[in-house]
């Protein structure tokens, strides 16, 4: 069944990507129209999304009401880490966060419907139930990052200014790869889909705190095994003139785009492997 769905765009990869983006845009637009039918509900859930995310930052503010630094980092710099992590994760969550729900479609067999449609499955799953209310999460990250940028003490150079948008886009790319890989895992995990929360939400929570807080093994893990450190820890160390975690060289601060591309490629392979194992439900 999976093969028939692939045939539509097997001819040339660029056309296939364009096709996928078009399908994604159409499906997402449909869900936005459907959301906007209930404007009050949209406003409330967006605010709820904002407030739920803000809770993490409230915890940090409460901590800093009692101390002046955490792991040697002052509030302004922790807010910088938090803001970057929040914006990156928020963008990824807004774009393809619905992939979380894939486990349910695998369990009840409704993924079949997507396989017979003439559009790439990844695009359909990513845009499924596209939730504009997730803008609340992005907005919260932007606010904290804005606050951090006004209070943090940085000697801005051209390289640092350039690194800011690069950091945010690459970070969003890395988190997108995590979401896709987590969705691919759900093909085999089924009931155990909660495991992916440990990597998506757990990942962004960890990046909200300075690397100096965590044990070296944990920092090595999120640098070399699951390269979340490239979302904010490493580029932020350059912007804030902080020592690099694990004594890494300075050039790693500029590696995030490459890491993001590599992660997305690997996640794409994982997705294909996962989709191939899909066997629908019985009878």
């Amino acid at each position: 069944m999976a093969e028939t769905a692939h045939e539509g765009g097997r001819t040339e990869p660029p056309r296939r990507v364009a096709e996928g983006l078009r399908a994604y845009r159409l499906i997402a637009a449909m869900w936005i129209r459907s959301t906007m039918a209930y404007r009050t509900s949209f406003a409330l859930t967006t605010f709820g999304n904002f407030a739920a995310t803000a809770l993490d930052f409230v915890a940090i503010l409460l901590m800093f009401s009692r101390v002046d630094a955490l792991g040697g980092w002052p509030l302004a710099e922790v807010a910088f880490l938090y803001g970057v992590s929040g914006v990156c994760f928020g963008l990824a969550d807004l774009a393809i966060g619905s992939m979380e729900r894939l486990g349910r479609r695998v369990r009840d067999g409704t993924l079949d419907t997507l396989l017979v449609r003439p559009a790439p499955v990844l695009a359909q799953v990513a845009a499924d139930r596209f939730a504009l209310r997730r803008l609340g999460r992005v907005a919260q990250g932007v606010l904290v990052l804005g606050y951090a940028l006004t209070v943090v003490d940085v000697d801005w150079t051209a390289a640092k200014l350039l690194l800011m948008p690069v950091m945010l886009l690459s970070g969003a790319g890395i988190f997108c790869a995590v979401f896709v890989a987590a969705a691919a895992f759900q093909f085999v995990a089924q009931d155990a889909s909660e495991v992916s929360n440990a990597f998506t939400y757990g990942g962004t929570t960890m990046l909200q705190y300075p690397p100096t807080v965590f044990a070296l093994d944990l920092v090595s893990g999120v640098t070399f095994v699951m390269p979340l450190a490239f979302v904010n820890w490493l580029p932020a160390s350059y912007v804030l003139d902080r020592p690099y975690p694990l004594g890494l060289p300075q050039w790693v601060a500029f590696a995030p785009p490459l890491v993001a591309v590599a992660c997305c490629a690997l996640a794409g392979l994982a997705w294909r492997a996962g989709l191939r194992t899909y066997r629908s439900t019985g009878s």
């Binding site: 509900s41 409330l44 859930t45 709820g48 407030a51 739920a52 809770l55 409230v58 915890a59 409460l62 901590m63 009401s65 009692r66 101390v67 002046d68 630094a69 955490l70 792991g71 995990a189 089924q190 009931d191 155990a192 889909s193 909660e194 495991v195 929360n197 440990a198 757990g202 929570t205 960890m206 705190y209 100096t212 807080v213 965590f214 044990a215 944990l218």
Partner: protein
């Protein structure tokens, strides 16, 4: 309540236990996720107590114990929601609640029994392993006396009842609102913030700390934790928790009778 109805509610509780015990892979996944979050939190707490030893009256080992206790009780006490309330709301929304109201059982006790069964399973299935992991790999402060552990378990049971009573009110709001998404989300926020899950309540600054410690949510995580850590008088804690349990269950009954008198059932 006679012996017969006692047996009925015991059967409902056993059903609640079995129902959650069925999903083994989901339970294992939950254990893994709780352990990972505990691991992340414990390092932030270690850094916080490094900066300020004796913060909030806890030493570092007590703070570490608090983290793992939070991960162990999160699912059992449904601090972030996720017990019976979604199902009850759905029954109210669809009108199935009419069938429930015709049954010769008490609606509140029925759901309480089912939720106690669920809580017991999640305490054993999802709570024990993360807590054991934390106690094994981090310095924790655990009491040696059996009596303290006993008092802790009593506090956990009372916490489960307070948690149920709160979520029962949340669920009943569906009689008026139909869509309970907003209320559920607010309840989740309040639960996380005011129970100590976000940060131990004794670390909260000044008046804010005093207010949150008086609210019902502090019965959930803060109360059992303080009993286990020897920071609170067990009897006083039980009275506080039982007081909130009685008040909230009574309010639940009032709201329930108001709802069933005025509400026109959906569907049909």
């Amino acid at each position: 309540m006679g012996v017969g109805s006692g047996r009925l509610y015991a059967a409902v509780a056993a059903g609640g236990f079995r129902r959650y015990a069925t999903y083994r892979a989901a339970t294992a996944a939950g254990v893994f996720t709780n352990t990972v979050f505990g691991l992340i939190l414990v390092y932030t707490y270690l850094a916080l107590w490094d900066e300020k030893p004796q913060l909030g009256g806890y030493d570092q080992a007590q703070a570490v114990t608090f983290v793992w206790l939070g991960q162990a009780l999160l699912a059992a006490l449904a601090i972030g929601g996720g017990g019976f309330e979604d199902e009850l709301m759905e029954r109210i929304r669809t009108g199935d609640i009419a069938v429930d109201l015709y049954r010769p059982v008490d609606l509140q006790l029925w759901w309480l029994a089912a939720d106690v069964g669920r809580a017991l399973f999640q305490l054993l299935g999802r709570g024990v392993v993360p807590f054991a992991f934390g106690s094994l790999f981090f310095p924790v402060a655990l009491p040696a006396e059996v009596s303290v552990w006993g008092a802790f378990l009593v506090a956990v049971v009372l916490a489960a009842v307070v948690s149920f009573a709160l979520r029962y009110l949340v669920a009943l709001s569906a009689f008026w609102l139909m869509d309970g998404m907003g209320v559920t989300q607010m309840a989740w926020l309040a639960g996380f913030f005011c129970s100590g899950m976000l940060l131990p309540l004794n670390v909260f600054p000044g008046a804010l700390g005093e207010v949150v410690r008086m609210l019902p949510w502090s019965s959930l995580l803060q109360a059992p934790a303080d009993v286990l850590l020897g920071e609170a008088d067990p009897l006083g804690t039980f009275v506080f928790q039982a007081g909130w349990a009685v008040v909230l269950l009574a309010v639940g009954r009032l709201v329930q009778s108001a709802a069933t008198r005025r509400v026109v059932v959906q569907g049909g």
